[in-house]
Subunit: 259 residues, 4 copies
């Protein structure tokens, strides 16, 4: 597009609407190359890994800092208290007041806890954090998070790592319609078509991890997601043709040669 | 992608996997610019329009012939006999032995007739045509069309002009699995995400018309479809991550700080 | 319902809208008890079995003839010629001019052949048969079958034995809207909810086999299908409430105690 | 079924798994007759109506008390405090410690508030109430409600009054798998097939209101829902046949007459 179409969250502007998770890649090299291929300028990293001393997982040294924002996530915490502590640790370690808040006491589906997430968000916002909360696609929770000063919401499409796509479609529609802050669809996005569909609905961005990381060719898959998200965004801006119940000829049918 | 990924139908190679219909555009100028923006190298045109003497609808003069193939369609015919006559007329007028075969006696949903389509295909192949038949997503019909020498099949996703997407998904899967000729999903594709999904399944190309022509911004929508089709193709080649029932953490969950 | 709601095909009336297939049951006893529990008055039987001399599969002797109609099917034939021969054989063996026409050259998905089915139907109708053709959910084919004198159509919901449900929903809707003969949804019905949905759309009957036969408790499953089909029919007659985009309170919301 | 299959919530047993809402009926007479036709033994009533002095809406006098339980709901409250007050009022008015907790600050989609619902549930359980909370299909929230002593959960299928069906299917599956208390699918159920599908998944009961009340024939629709819910329950107990990707013949295909 010739006109600028910039995503803004808090005080930061993002040229890409594809956010990337950094788990599950078979090597750090592949992870770095996939990130670069995706043109994403925001990647999440588990605080556990930041804290790690393992040489072969040094995500910090591997990334070109100036252009790509590292967003620590609190993956692994089970309540607000643990999340707040993790966020503060991350702020110190990474020198960022941004945090992706993930509170999932559920070990099987890793679904987020709405109560703890609201409590932690409220506390962290008061402490000066820019909070990006991973949540169920619950429109009321989204409004409550807005009320405590959240700068964006990250509703899930399907349980993490399932690649099922937009199983929460009807509720994402409501969230997007009502939200005053950017809506980033997180979790469950398993194919470029899913990401395009989220953007066509009016989502502001999409976070992808498993679908790229476990592909046979993560670099190519990263490029595919990049393109599909741009396609979905452009289609949203151009506005989709309406769905119709009856057919309409795209070729003129009137009075063919034989009438 | 760095490696070549060329679609070949009969003796022709196509660099783009997006085919375009030319109906419903609000002006010829917009149609031409949308075609160019799409980078498509195959556009269909209703024989009725070729035959037309109306100055303002002169699709032939408006297109850069060397790079874009004009594919006449038989839209408006109701049986094999009319279709064969139309194809011969088109061959003379456009100097091409390619024809998109559309036989739809049904005035409401414009769905194709399987019996007439097979009969016309068999006759036209014998007359030296390269036939691209528009059909219901019927896997057995596809095999029968192969048996009479068709060079590709064009199963529908949903009734023409409805923008409903891949409502024949389960049958397209079977067609793609079994087909020995290229499979081009035609009709019903209403959004870039639909086109991407078709390509992710392994379709060889997609034909789009209404979704681009009636958009608020056809040129931008054409670009969006181009990108989404490339994305879907690249994802297919890189192979999608499998859909799982249970969640899998993309961030490492083991032994967080508080255990 | 207090008013009569009778299904009529050709000259026969059916009190039940559940038709049953007889394959895959673990024993003839279980098959018979399931049929009786279902209250179906039309069951299909493969001609192969009629022809059989195996004592333990003697479906003919096991059924209470007066109340249940045996409908021979041509399962196993691959073209019109074989189908016509099979139908004539069945007419002689079972003393019925009714035949369920199944022509599926495809060994993997057992999908029906539209061309051979139309040809066989035309020939069999001329020979005095009441033909019940198993077909893809192809609305144009349905109209062509009507044109040659078919007395009902049996479009599929999904490939036989997959239990996937109404994967052809959008096309069944069109078929039901346009058909002048009863529409019986055949193949793919894997759960009572699928059968209910078919009836709610306005289908005239449903044929079920695998979903009952391979259940842990075929007799109970037969009863469940009976009830769900009655439920779907009654809901169709009472007309479903419309689907709405926005919520509407079912409880009165106006001026609660605290306003 | 010959064996007993009783739903138990707290200390009460229910012979029917269909719960009914009482809003939107065109007359009290029609409401009463529909309830009787449904054989439901639990119907919800908005506290506002209980409080009402309008003669023509006297739900209390109209129902045969001994066999049908009246469940007051808190529809119209916007937070925990209002809900608790409403529940106490209902307890006094109706002499029941059961309450259907509905807290929906959202005037457009009437979606429930997870935070207020958990807080109100905790307080009401401590006050001796049997709480039936209307919630989003959020598996983590369900576990938290269990932790504070809830006796059942009532996740929604779709926004109230939309008749969209089980739009939360993937999350209902998880809730049912994990729940230690009965799961009652509430809101969005628009057709008997939806109710059957919920029961087939293993839901313990279904609450229906709009789909019956606004039907052309509420009494018949009530009967249809009754049957479909029994069908779904019986199918669940008999266990559904598995969904398969490939077809399987239900009629024997081996060596037909022509091989």
């Amino acid at each position: 597009m010739s006109y600028p179409d910039i995503l803004k969250i808090a005080d930061k502007e993002f040229s890409s609407r594809l956010f990337l998770g950094t788990g599950k890649f078979s090597s750090s090299k592949l992870m770095r190359e996939s990130i670069l291929a995706s043109k994403s300028d925001l990647v999440t990293v588990a605080l556990k890994r930041v804290d790690s001393t393992l040489e072969n997982d040094d995500i910090l040294s591997g990334l070109p800092h100036p252009t790509i924002n590292l967003l620590p996530n609190t993956s692994g915490v089970r309540n607000a208290k643990e999340a707040i502590f993790a966020a503060e640790l991350a702020r110190e370690a990474l020198e960022t007041n941004w945090v992706k808040l993930e509170i999932h006491p559920d070990p099987n589906y890793l679904l987020p806890d709405p109560i703890e997430t609201l409590a932690a968000t409220e506390a962290l916002v008061k402490k000066g954090f820019v909070v990006m909360p991973y949540i169920h696609a619950d429109p009321v929770l989204c409004k409550r998070l807005e009320d405590v000063g959240v700068q964006c919401v990250m509703p899930l499409g399907a349980p993490i790592g399932t690649n099922k796509g937009l199983k929460t479609f009807d509720f994402l529609e409501i969230i997007i319609e009502q939200s005053k802050v950017p809506v980033i669809v997180d979790a469950g996005i398993g194919a470029p078509s899913h990401a395009a569909a989220a953007m066509e609905m009016g989502a502001d961005a999409v976070l992808v991890n498993t679908a790229i990381a476990v592909s046979n060719n993560p670099i190519q898959m990263a490029k595919a997601f990049k393109k599909s998200i741009e396609a979905g965004r452009e289609a949203y801006l151009a506005s989709l043709a309406p769905v119709k119940q009856n057919a309409e000829a795209s070729s003129p049918l009137t009075s063919f040669l034989y009438d």
